[in-house]
């Protein structure tokens, strides 16, 4: 097999600030060609529409872990049964992404957090000012817990559990904060390391 090399994007306009605008993402390794995807690859993609995405077609090189990861993701964020409201699951994802420095992931989940909470200005403050931004007690506490969990080694402990309980979160809601932030420590590391974000050309 011929030696492989990375892909480069010399003309890419890389975003230099966190944003809620729609970004694109350019891979540094060759995604699978759409025409070569098999049943096993589609099983990993879960949604056939993901075959349009270079990110998912790159991850489809190992379809089994992609499929398991995608199903984990969907239940953590989309399962409507009790627990943390959707807006705040997205907040935990956006906070982890802001803290780790994933401009692409933060853009997607900041947009979702704004959509579900209608608190676009507060979400923008998280992006502009960082994870210390004052977003009100409840959001501050969720952000602080997500950030503590995202530190390596993790700084999350009993005090975060107590603070979340004091806000009225039950244990399923706290588990949702934990899973939302933890999952984005997975996602951030893939998006940051396998390619780069691209500023969309204004429509």
């Amino acid at each position: 097999m011929a030696a492989e090399s990375t892909l480069s994007h010399p003309d890419n306009t890389h975003p230099i600030a966190f944003t809620q605008a729609q970004l694109e993402w350019l891979p540094w390794l060759e995604p699978l060609p759409e025409a070569e995807l098999t049943e096993r690859h589609f099983a990993g993609l879960v949604d056939a529409s993901r075959a349009k995405s270079p990110y998912f077609r790159l991850l489809a090189r190992d379809p089994d872990i992609l499929g398991a990861r995608t199903r984990t993701d969907k239940d953590i964020f989309y399962n409507p049964e009790a627990g943390l409201p959707r807006a705040e699951r997205e907040l935990s994802a956006a906070a982890a992404s802001r803290y780790n420095g994933c401009i692409y992931c933060a853009s997607v989940h900041a947009r979702f957090a704004s959509h579900f909470s209608q608190r676009t200005d507060d979400v923008q403050r998280l992006l502009d000012e960082g994870v210390q931004a004052d977003l009100g007690e409840r959001w501050n506490t969720i952000v602080a817990a997500s950030v503590a969990l995202s530190s390596t080694p993790s700084a999350f402990g009993a005090e975060h559990v107590e603070q979340l309980r004091a806000l009225g979160l039950d244990d399923l809601a706290i588990a949702d904060v934990i899973h939302g932030a933890a999952f984005f420590n997975w996602a951030n590391r893939l998006m940051l390391s396998l390619g780069e974000p691209q500023q969309s050309v204004a429509a």
Partner: protein, 214 residues
């Protein structure tokens, strides 16, 4: 507690249960049962990385997967996970010299993250310095070029993923990793960043039980 608690908690503890100390039938077992798909597929993710269904995609040996995992778990400083993956590496029949080299590199690689640089611009004010890491010369002799380059990449992903670059991937390709194997390697390190945090988080929750639900 306003959640409806399922009675169909899983009878089989998975890796997260085991490392976080969640017993079958316990309060947190029932909490996890309410996100049954997340629970099932977190474990399925572990299995697809560490006990993949043959034929293996690419040429990424299981013993090397555990070597990288032992290093990554050690860097996270979560004692149960570190022990679990170090035991897993020994269980794969790794030589004593390899076990010793991985343990030594885990200590040498210790750091606190996330740190790293942003693209030049307004975020540059948030650039945070931290160590860059390469396997020590003596350990490189034991572990080989390919595994040593994987450990360096794992260290980058664990502590300063925002310093990632195409050049970092090129150095993996140069050390003999294929694009497909790099995807699996990246998933492995990134998955552990998730699994270990779930263990930490649920472990903290388990130590502060509420009884309202019972």
């Amino acid at each position: 507690m306003n959640a409806t608690v399922s009675s169909s908690a899983s009878a089989v503890p998975d890796v997260i249960d085991r490392l976080a100390g969640i017993a079958p039938g316990s309060h947190l077992d029932r909490v996890r049962a309410q996100r049954e798909q997340a629970r099932t597929h977190a474990q399925q993710s572990y299995l697809s990385l560490f006990a993949p269904v043959p034929p293996l995609i690419g040429n990424f040996e299981i013993v090397d997967r555990f070597a990288i995992a032992a290093f990554v778990a050690g860097l996270h400083g979560q004692a149960e996970a570190a022990r679990f993956y170090a035991d897993g590496l020994a269980g794969q029949g790794a030589e004593a010299a390899v076990l010793e080299a991985i343990a030594g590199e885990t200590k040498r690689g210790a750091a606190a993250g996330p740190y790293g640089r942003y693209p030049a611009g307004p975020l540059s004010a948030e650039d945070a310095a931290g160590p860059s890491y390469a396997v020590g010369d003596a350990q490189r002799q034991v572990l080989g070029e390919r595994l040593s380059s994987a450990l360096a990449h794992a260290h980058l992903l664990v502590f300063h993923p925002r310093d990632a670059s195409a050049a970092a991937l090129q150095s993996l390709l140069d050390a003999g990793w294929s694009s497909t194997e790099i995807v699996t390697l990246s998933q492995l390190v990134a998955f552990l960043a998730f699994q270990i945090r779930v263990v930490t988080g649920l472990g903290a929750l388990a130590q502060r039980p509420v009884t309202l639900v019972d």
